[in-house]
Amino acid sequence: MASVTISGVEKWFGTLQILHGIDIDIEDQEFVVLVGPSGCGKSTLLRMIAGLESISDGEISIGTRMINDVPARDRDIAMVFQNYALYPHMSVFDNIGFSLKLRKRSKQEISEKINEAAEILDLTPYLERSPRQLSGGQRQRVAMGRALVRDAQVFLFDEPLSNLDAKLRVVMRTEIKALHQRLKTTSVYVTHDQIEAMTMADRIVVMNKGRVEQTGTPMDLYDFPANLFVADFIGSPSMNFIEGIVAADNEGPFVMAKDRTRLAISRESSAALGQKVVYGARPEHLVLASGNEGFDATIEVIEPTGPNIQIFADVAGQRICALSTERRTHKPGQRIRLHCPETSVHLFDASSGARI
């Protein structure tokens, strides 16, 4: 097992730049998730770690070894592909054992290792089958098994769950996490699904347009998003944003929205008076208020999800979402007051998008 150091990495396709100087330090035994919208360069970066794409500039090291010019087969990594990439002409047994066979391990060692991996992954009854005869979930496990027997320094995952149905995805996500807790192999996991990122990662790297937007633990990113992009990307339903200008009155500082709605902010905020800002509030922080607290909203749509109710309402001409656990019967058209505690408010500079 080893750390992975990515420093100043760039990727060019002809004259098109895909990655703009990426720096990430992944510690030994860490589970890092690269997350971002499609086309953000996360898969390209993973493939560069794997040795499937050349590194245009910068360095990638595994442990203390710089691997820029080391071919994939000598990097001592294992990878799980999005479409599993199982060898269709080999049995499950041979699929899992292929890497060991290439490394000329003894027959006995190979079958011991395969059986051990099959045991962990509940694949023992399927070892003689061909990949074609397996369900999606089983194929996924075989792909995992192939990585498992390697004792590789680093595991790479390229959206491994995206071809599974929603239920299976949740199960496999827990299994992968449990597996990591057991093996503690350094892992880099790529996904576009922020929930996967939140639930699995020790640390998340949010990427956008070939750049790292923010790195941190899941709760860090959730509680202190560094900019509008991360704030919007992490969390579901996503954070509500209302544009406005910082103002103050005798009750304290606030953000004045376009229709003069008063959105209270913390007295400690470093925002300057008159600054154009974006006011952000997570749906679960918006609570139904009474009296003078908070601001007016008109209910447009109500969506019960079971554990709570999503209230979509109009505030200052913008649709926002609030979560309520109360089973009160709200109706579309109804006027309510919503309040977000000042300490839960996120403020971003309107032009740079950076957190204030």
Partner: protein, 276 residues
């Protein structure tokens, strides 16, 4: 009557004229090949004949030097197929797996060569073979067949190669395989069916070629089957039609059977983006 049965009857009714026109000459071929010589020209012409003359085939084999022509055809078709496939595999692999400048250009170049028919170039080809001292050599046919078939083989192989996920090779590299091991253990086993199908079509193309064989081969001993059979018909007062038809049966039936068995692969190839 179920709707499907009704539809089937209608379709067969619509298809029947074409089927009759396609099958009729084959029927004529068989009844001619099997009838006694003196029943060839009877008036009025009739389908019926007195006995099945299987000896026609044996006679024909000797008289028309069928065996020699068969060997020539086999040699030319097999050799040109093998060379075409061997040269096409790397090219198709490159087109399917690599991004490189000039790829589009090379594709268009192949398309152009596919469009160029032997007949328009036949005079130039003939003079080229004279220069190379290859006229009257079966190898002149081998080289030209390889060249004229290559666009087809590369294109056919490439469209099948594209269906083999690149990730399989990548997975094998990560598993520790060299490019060569990956090619031999992963890629080629999966590509075998495509190579076999492509090879058979190339074989049939070479087997059936006429214009070049007619032009580049001057001595009777080196004739391939189509030219040999043509020479039994062209410019003769007395055409031994029962022999010609017997030869045609032997030259076409095996190929037709193989082709019929394989034609769905060709349709699949087209569906895979062949026309693209």
């Amino acid at each position: 009557m179920t709707p499907k049965l009704k539809k089937s009857l209608l379709y067969w009714l619509l298809l029947s004229p074409l089927c009759v026109v396609i099958l009729l000459p084959f029927g004529i071929m068989f009844v001619t090949a099997l009838r006694p010589r003196d029943e060839l020209f009877v008036y009025p012409p009739t389908w019926t004949f007195s006995e099945f003359r299987w000896e026609n085939f044996a006679e024909m084999w000797v008289k028309t030097n069928f065996g020699g022509a068969l060997l020539n055809s086999l040699y030319v078709s097999l050799t040109s197929t093998i060379i075409a496939i061997v040269l096409s595999i790397p090219a198709a692999y490159a087109l399917s797996r690599y991004r490189f400048s000039g790829k589009g250009l090379y594709r268009n170049f192949l398309l152009m060569t596919q469009m160029m028919s032997p007949i328009v170039l036949v005079l130039g080809l003939f003079r080229l073979m004279v220069h190379l001292n290859l006229v009257n050599s079966l190898n002149s046919l081998v080289v030209t067949y390889v060249a004229f078939n290559m666009a087809f083989t590369i294109w056919m192989l490439q469209s099948y190669f594209n269906t083999i996920p690149r990730e399989l090779e990548e997975a094998s590299w990560i598993d520790g395989a060299t490019s060569f091991t990956s090619l031999v253990k992963i890629f080629l086993p999966l590509a075998v069916p495509a190579m076999v199908v492509t090879a058979i079509f190339t074989f049939i193309n070479s087997w059936n070629e006429f214009v070049l064989a007619l032009t580049l081969i001057r001595s009777q001993n080196d004739y391939t089957l189509p030219v040999q059979i043509f020479s039994q018909v062209a410019g003769r007062y007395q055409v031994e039609w029962h022999h010609v038809m017997a030869a045609t049966v032997l030259a076409t039936v095996p190929v037709a059977i193989v082709f019929s068995w394989l034609q769905r692969y060709l349709i699949r190839g087209m569906a895979l983006g062949a026309v693209k």
